[in-house]
Amino acid sequence: MSRRRFDPVRAAYLTLNGAIVAFLLTPIAIIGVFALNPTPYISFPPVGVTLRWFDKFFTSPEFMNALWLSLQVAVAVLILSMLIGGLCALGLARGNIPGARILTACFMSPLMLPAILTGLALFQLYLLLDIGRPVWGLIMGHTLVAVPYVLRTTLAVLHNFDRRIEEAAAVHGAGPLRVFFEVTLPLIQPGVVAGGIFAFIVSFDQFPISLFLVLPKGETLPVVLFNYMKFDLDGAIAAASMVSILMAILVVVLLEKTIGLKTYVKL
């Protein structure tokens, strides 16, 4: 295998892939340009550098209330989906439930059915029950679509680990609770945590469900951004977008550190 020789087919293959990666990343990177460009509307090429859009974003009560609500909801979803999803994965993998495979597909289905319908359906149910649009209703809607991520990462970890470790602990006299807390829990923890990180970002970015379930003046950040963008496209949106992008990058790094992104892809 002479790797040094120029190989036109391989060069074309790599160039094509380079172009595809550029297609994926350029739109995201370009937002940074508009977040710093001082013109009052989106225009290109940029004419300078300013922080006024970040200032506008971080001092606007409308944006800040929305950011704060989004963060609170995302943290609640993180905790709930780790508990519900982690337990569910254990039950599915260890409970000898007949039809566990079909059950798993059911629990995963909120990911594939249109989220806008989930939003509509929850909206109609809440309206029928006459409970208004409480924040917990929004949190439960987000949790529904976040649990599948925790389920997926935890099942992956459970699938990979050797059951004989638990059996060995039991043979050596550990009770079921002790086996759970000292063997099973530490082993599945990375999967649950990684799923929780996904749950957080899924909730933070969630749009279609929120659209139906938020109150006017009590909107999450994506809904506020969307409503703003209907009328106005300026640097404040770009600055707000940077927050979302930085959050995504942070999540990717955290995921790589907890279970490794590879584990996620294997599923």
Binding site: S43, N96, F107, M112, L122, L127, F207, M229, V265
Partner: protein, 292 residues
Amino acid sequence: MASPRRRPAMSPVAWAIGPAVLLFVVFFVIPFATMALLSFLSGNPANNPNVSFTTRHYERLIGDSLYFEALVATLRIGAITTLVALLLGYPLAHLMARIHSRVGHALLLMAVIAPMLTGIVVRTFAWMTLLQDRGVINATLMGWGVISEPLPLMYNEFGTILALVHIYVPFMVLTLTGVIGRIDERLEQAARNLGANRFQAFLEVTLPLSLPGILAGSLLVFALSISAYVTPFLMGGTDVLTLPMLIYQQVGASFNLGFAGALGVVLLAVSLVIVVAYNNVLGRFAGGEKMA
């Protein structure tokens, strides 16, 4: 705990799925049943005691060609988005599955997952800054004197599909990479040793073996793109009207819950067919090798 293989009876651990079942039933099954029920009612039973069963929402849906056209437009946009996402996603998935450098693999993964984890509203905004009349592409081309009038890149189906492809390509790549990665590289090597060139080896060995991935990835992207709301709304202008846009219109502007429900049931029916097909494809492919 005894070994599960010797004792097929359910273990008490099975109760751990309780909270998930509760969540699934209360916040998924019951709401969707409510939606289906409302689509057959003449009004909202919560504030109107004289509600009766009716099929008028469905009659309206069938009677007006606007809704049929919206359904067709939704499916068309979904299909084109899926096809383009497959064409762009396959080479990248192939590279990710075959790259030997660990760092290279990690970087490619990050390049795919980071956009996926950026909000849909944000990514749509990114495409608006690129495609609008004063946007990056038009401004650059006009600056170079290539064009004198801005190209109509946005507020039409083209812009909508381009942004949708960008948003859903990562799902295609991740699905395909998993499948291509499980194809033994030596099979392709063997084909080449037997005299096939690289294209033949790819076309006759790798491509057919990755068919389940192509099918699963396409179904996933199709399901996601027919339910998109933000992107067609912001990028489509007056040119694009899809089912999800109509659904929100019925709630946000007309407050016609029954009709919104009927439109929802139609979209749900299409999606359910796709979900069942997706699970079949993946289930058959995974076979008995894993439960998850």
